[in-house]
Amino acid sequence: MANTTKKTTAKKAAPAKTVKAVKATKTTAKKSCKKPTAAELKAAQEAKEAATFKVHSAPVKNVVEDAPLFFEKKLPQKDTLQVGYPLEKVDAMGLVTGTQKYVEDIDMPQNLLHIKVLGSPHAHAIIKKIDVEEARKMPGVVAVYTYKDLPRVMRTTAGQGFPEPSPYDTPTLDQKVRYVGDRVAVVAAETEAQAEEACRNIAKHVEFKVLDPVLDTEEAMTSKSIIHDEKDAYAPIPIFYDPKHNHCSHVETSCGEGKNGVADMEKGYKDADVVLERKYYPHYAQHCPMEPHVCMSWLDENNRLVFRSSTQVPWHARRIMAQTLQIPLKRIRVIKPRVGGAFGTKQEVLLEDVCGFVTLRTRRPCIYRMTREEEFMESRTRHPMVVKIKMGAKKDGTITALSMRIISNTGAYGSHALTVLSNCGSKVLPLYHANNIEFIGDTVYTNLPVGGAYRGYGATQAAFGTESMMDEMAEAIGMDPIKFRQLNHIKPGESSPIIKALGEGREGVEMIITSVGLPECIEKGKKIIDWDKKTKAYKKQNATNPTKKRGLGMCCLMQGSSIPEVDMGSVLIKMNEDGSFNMNLGATDLGTGSDTVMAQIAAETIGCKHSDIIVYSSDTDMTMFDVGAYASSTTYLTGGATINAAKKVRDQIVSVAALIMGEDVANVTIKDSVCYGKKTKKKVTFSEVANTALYGGENVKKMFQVGAIGSHISHASPPPFAAHFAEVEIDTETGDIDLLHYVAGCDCGTAINPQLALGQVQGAAMNAISFALTEEYMFDKKGRMQNPTFANYKIWTARDIKKLDCFLAESYEETGPYGAKSVSEININGGLPAIGNAIYNAIGVRLTRPPYTPEKILAAIKAKKAEEAKASKAPAKKAKK
């Protein structure tokens, strides 16, 4: 696999690679995001037709399952019976009555050990001396490990496909600590209190050599302090990696009017009537799932190591544990029970290594749960960034040049460092046409909390830059900001060279965009927030009201649906005697409702009710493989696998029913778990079919289990689209900001379950708002987070919402199951730009360093006033002359 991994990320001084990547996109025409030619469209159509698969006649050509490029042609919504309805979430009743089981909700095994980890008090230091002998003798203490005790295996904690695009820079324990909270020692004791006591004792017996910490993102690459100076850190795939300069990853690409289709930025800026350049600083944030990271492990009756973990990625966890613990993969089983929220932070294999070592060495079951404080300081965060956008545009609205330069701060370890960075470009830049586009991104190490996957995954940070710039540019060229966006956003039948140029650790997959519900998102959102009327009214109102200023702002967004030709999901469906089905899938429902969505897709395809599908997810022993719940992939990707499995099951049911009825296979139809024969006018229930298949019947002597496995990979990553609107009131005397109204509209293709899909929009929008207005990591000068509690890190509660309106603007995505694409991530990206733009429209001040707290707003107002006073003096002098 490594051989096929192409190198798209080159060092700065290697433009040849960039040219190559761009060449392949064949973009030599005037517009870089041009419409495809008739020939290209025809070829795409032919490919589509060739790959469209029919429900009832799928001759097996090959043992390797063909992944369909496109699903069955448009099924009108009215004809579906299970897909497109707000059916009951399959686990809901258990969740609200407290019977569903999360990691800690089983009867605890006897002899359970409790794990506590001593975190570093310093951001950057070397452990000079550590004495744990006293701790080892303390009451209840069973095991104490330091870097001296565990094998040093360099790997990543990022739960990504193999080989991972994140550097192998993280041993379980190290002599060096790289951020406040980094592991110093592990203790396992009979009780939690005893483990804590032992940690306190060890803390008294450690001597550190404190090193200068690297705390500034922009200065990291030139710092004399090197965070990863160890010799054994490396990138497992051929990508740029230069830890000696705290330089974790580099990506660059460009496309446009230059030679061989690369960008000619100089020309782009020259062609423009206005060129603007701005820096934006999206900030640190934590996912804050209500259930913190927690993992249990034990040895089963066959001496196998079992993990019960709150994880998004059971299979990656199993693989990374085999690597870390140096035991055969077959000895490991990972069970994912109900998960209490994740949002990306549990795409990290964080606790399993410690649990695994303790259980293997003590042969006792153990539990390691993070405290809320540890969750903030020691789990994963949103990569904070410096986003520099330079844009050139003509007065007619043509964008002649768009440059995005990013420095991303991955903290002490490079988890998701490269892929979050490349997603900044690939999930944001294709949204608008631009004659010349360049993307240059760097990820740096610092001695701050570790970045990771977080809903939005880079697009959140980058969209803050571009969507703020879109407003600034619209104002500069004298165009309505919505019109400016409508003019330039991508339309059906179009593509962007960026999609091909930027993949995840390799080239992307070319794609023509077919479903774009953005115009409806914009129009409907405008209406709901009363855009036209209010923008005019507030201009007048603001001129007369000296202290209370109101403003509206908006933004447009896109994301993706799965990682094309990288991610794979699979599903097993088998039939029971009563006509119900077990569906065992690897896709990890984290509370998102994917179990329900898959049940609806399976039921629709087979011809039964979703309540007849018994869903079980996920367990590496019991269910099929799935990469996990990330990259907005589950509905789109595993939904495809579900259709593949369900179609095979349906074919088997039809063949048994045909035998029973003496009917031709082609003449059998299914509705509501009953098979009907067209000629014989007979009918046979699913229960009869299942019983006949299992126990035999008059015409059926070869008994078999009705059941099948389906797999799926995607060849595209169709973007969902969204438009967000915000209405704010600002008190110019105090800086106080009141979010009066927030509107989020999202095009997710077909909403398999509109209620659950809308819930995803609402949850993400709320998180976006909270992130934009109140959530903030506060560090002291030495890099320690000062506010790692819910009391001091403010996430929004029900009482903080004034008015939040969310809606779905459905389109039909031909490559997705029943027309679906993703919905989960995109809506977290709107808060920063939409509210930022609204603030600007209210008070004429642009805040580039969120969150938009009253303190920052007031400071910005004062700075603006001071500047205006200065400016008013200057022209007065000129006028005199």
């Binding site: 979430k89 009743m93 009555t97 109900r338 949850g763």
Partner: protein
């Protein structure tokens, strides 16, 4: 030491440590609907009804529950016989990951016990102590308002019958 209290209507006697928190004791005794999300009394996942009022059991010493009447989500209703609030949560899609549901249901019950006619603002106020990161609170507010509406209707119809 021993703790004598009532849990979900049943008289209980638990063996506890003096420094143990109520949430931990309840969970150990099988009431696992009580969730622990922060151990600082901020997230409300551990809310239980304590002598008729919601209380964060993660920062309540178990010993303080001597003689107390406690209700956990298990006492509110079961999958076979759910409370109207629980049915409305299901109907409105208010459960995503569900980790915060047991706590917020206790807060919601307290609201409806004391205010059969709540406004949207009343509901928001009542849920202020129950953090949720999944739903954006919207569906939960809808569910509680719906439950209040239905309770009123059924109260009216029973009155009418009399």
């Amino acid at each position: 030491m021993q703790l004598n209290c009532k849990v979900n209507g049943k008289a209980c006697c638990f063996e506890i440590e003096p420094n143990e928190m109520l949430a931990d004791v309840l969970r150990r005794e099988g009431y696992r609907g009580v969730k622990v999300g922060c151990r600082e009394g901020s997230c409300g996942a551990c809310s239980v009804m304590f002598n008729g009022k919601p209380r964060n059991s993660c920062i309540t010493l178990a010993a303080m529950a001597e003689g107390a009447d406690i209700m956990t989500v298990e006492g509110l209703g079961t999958p076979d016989k759910p409370h109207l609030l629980q049915s409305c949560y299901v109907k409105h899609g208010a459960a995503q990951c569900g980790f915060c549901n047991p706590g917020s249901l206790i807060s919601a019950k307290y609201l409806l016990d004391n205010n059969p006619n709540p406004t949207e603002d009343d509901v928001k106020e009542a849920l202020d102590g129950n953090l949720c990161r999944c739903t954006g609170y919207i569906k939960r507010i809808e569910a509680i308002l719906d439950a209040a509406q239905q309770m009123k209707k059924s109260a009216k119809s029973t009155r009418g019958k009399k």
